[in-house]
Amino acid sequence: MSIDYLLKRLLWALPTLFGVAVLVFVLVRVVPGDPIAMMLPPGATADDVGRLRALYGLDAPIAKQFVVWMGEVLRGNFGTSISLRDGVVTLVLGRLPATLELVIVAVAAACALAAVAAVGAAYFRGRWPELLVDGAAGLVLAIPDFLWGLLFVLILGVLLPLLPISGRIDPTLDFNPATGFYLAEALVRLHWTALADLLKHILLPALALALPLAAALTRVLKGSLIDAMNQDYVTLVRVKGYSRSRILWRVALRNALIPTVTLTGVQFSFLIGGTVLIEYIFSYPGIGNLAIAAVNQRDLPLIQGLVLTFAVLFILTNLLVDMAYSVLNPKVRQS
């Protein structure tokens, strides 16, 4: 993929981001609830409220507020969180690595699950494993993902307490990461205890997040695999003496990935939206969790910053999916 193409895509994204920014800005200011009043103790006078409002610039007309805000944003200043008294950028960047790690683990888990399930179903075409896979995929898609998260908490966290159901890491562990990317650091520093603990904590939320994507991927991948197996190039490799498993895993799967990515590409970005609830359910310290807290507190600057962050993540995910597609399909690559 050429740099030109990437730049063009990023430029296209800007109007969307702008639109999102405007929408959120306007939306939260049409608020009946008053965040300023919420911040002050009950005995506050109208005067106090007025002064605080002026401090946050919330007394100016909406259009002026927007211009001011845009100006600050372009300077890299997203304001200060009303509820947490810290810079929005700091807060978001502090929590972002956790969410990124969660998303990456979830995507990897979804792809692995889907690959095994789809290949298994295609290999055992017409027999019970295929029916099992179809049924499981249907069941997973029927139950909304936030309920899966809760089911995991209930069954695997409480009834059969196999895994922790909150947090990211055991606070008593002797692990002092320098960055926010705990998993990556533990891996690089070969800190096995920390790594094991981190994986235990991330497993349930990542699985809950991954399930809907895995189910959708499995369905499409299975269909594409069956199509691929009927192609002439598969006949040829059979005649060359390839084993059945080699044909499935190395020839059919590789080809089946192309239409699969086309059809399910958009689901990857839905995963980003799913982090909001899943992080909340598992008290996982990422930006999803922060978003719920911010909304509950009517923390306008934080809400705005987070919505923009999510929008950027969406756009980046879609871009990554496109890039993956061009890697998978040699006919599309620029030579």
């Binding site: 969307t16 639109g19 999102v20 959120v24 939306l27 939260v28 049409v30 608020v31 009946p32 609830g33 029927a142 139950i143 909304p144 936030f146 309920l147 809760l150 089911l151 908490v153 209930l154 966290g157 409480v158 009834l159 970005s269 980003i272 939206g273 799913g274 909001v276 609830l277 909340y280 359910i281 978003a291 719920i292 909304v295 509950n296 009517r298 809400i303 919505v307 999510f310 929008a311 969406f314």
Partner: protein, 279 residues
């Protein structure tokens, strides 16, 4: 009659039973529930379900404030059903109106509506939903509005495609030639043929609405009064899940059954309606 015959389809049967159960629970709540859902009895909190704990008085146990879970669940069917029905109806009206217009009139109107749908659908829906709820404040009306705003596109897309398909049929051409105006044509020719599809969409939408309502009340953004909602009960139960897991499990089961039932109804109706499959 075809409606009764459709009950032979196992999915439709299951779905109808679930819907009936919901309707009965919601309508007859005061008579069905053993206790007052809001009555607190701190002496009897955290009673487990069954004979050992709650016994006859509290078959599903009690929560942290001693309130009867079964009663709360039964009453919880009310907001679930109201929200599901109202939201589905209005999302359906909005989406169908735009879908019919876009599909029938085509051209610039269609382009505009399609572009709108695309942009709308590229917004992260969970986040939008929560932000909207925060903006509009607590209350069932919030939930309903949030669902309508987010999900009208589902109806719009499908209705538009179906309208375009119907429009290409001969009976529409002949209606045009005998001078019927677009309004008449839409109402008398196209709508009746789109209607069966709408029924399936409607049931699916209800399932989605129940989930959204549960999510919003789970996050604390739905009804603020003490009226029990399934999502709210889950939220309360979450705090005590280690001591009293049934507090979370029971409302979850309700939601799962409701959603599965509505989905089954939607799928089953689609099978029954689609003449190709029925053959």
């Amino acid at each position: 009659m075809k409606a009764i015959a459709s009950l032979r389809n196992p999915r439709v049967l299951f779905g109808v039973l679930v819907v009936l159960a919901l309707v009965v629970a919601a309508a007859a709540a005061p008579w069905l529930s053993p206790n007052d859902p809001l009555e607190q009895d701190l002496m009897n909190s955290f009673q487990s379900p069954g004979a050992g704990g709650g016994g006859q008085a509290h078959p599903l146990g009690t929560d942290s404030l001693g309130r009867d879970i079964l009663s709360r669940l039964i009453y919880g069917a009310r907001p679930a059903l109201i929200v599901a029905f109202v939201a589905a109806v209005f999302a359906g009206l909005l989406g169908t109106a735009l879908g019919l217009a876009a599909g029938y009139f085509g051209g610039r109107l269609d382009a505009a509506v399609s572009r709108l749908v695309d942009i709308w659908m590229s917004f992260p829906s969970v986040l939008l939903c929560i932000v909207l709820a925060a903006v509009l404040g607590a209350g069932l009306h919030t939930v309903v509005i949030a669902i309508i705003v987010i999900d009208w596109t589902r109806f719009c897309r499908v209705v538009r495609a179906e309208t375009m398909l119907q429009k290409s049929h001969d009976y529409v051409a002949s209606a045009v030639t005998i001078g019927l105006g677009p309004g008449r044509i839409l109402a008398s020719e196209i709508l009746p043929n789109v209607a069966p599809l709408l029924l399936t969409l409607f049931t699916l939408e209800m399932g989605i609405a129940i989930v959204v309502e549960a999510i919003l009340s789970f996050v604390g953004l739905s009804v603020s009064s003490g009226m029990p909602t399934w999502g709210g009960i889950i939220q309360e139960g979450r705090l005590y899940v280690n001591q009293a897991w049934w507090l979370m499990a029971a409302p979850m089961a309700c939601i799962i059954v409701a959603v599965l039932g509505l989905n089954a109804l939607g799928d089953g109706l689609r099978e029954v309606i689609d003449p190709v499959k029925a053959r």
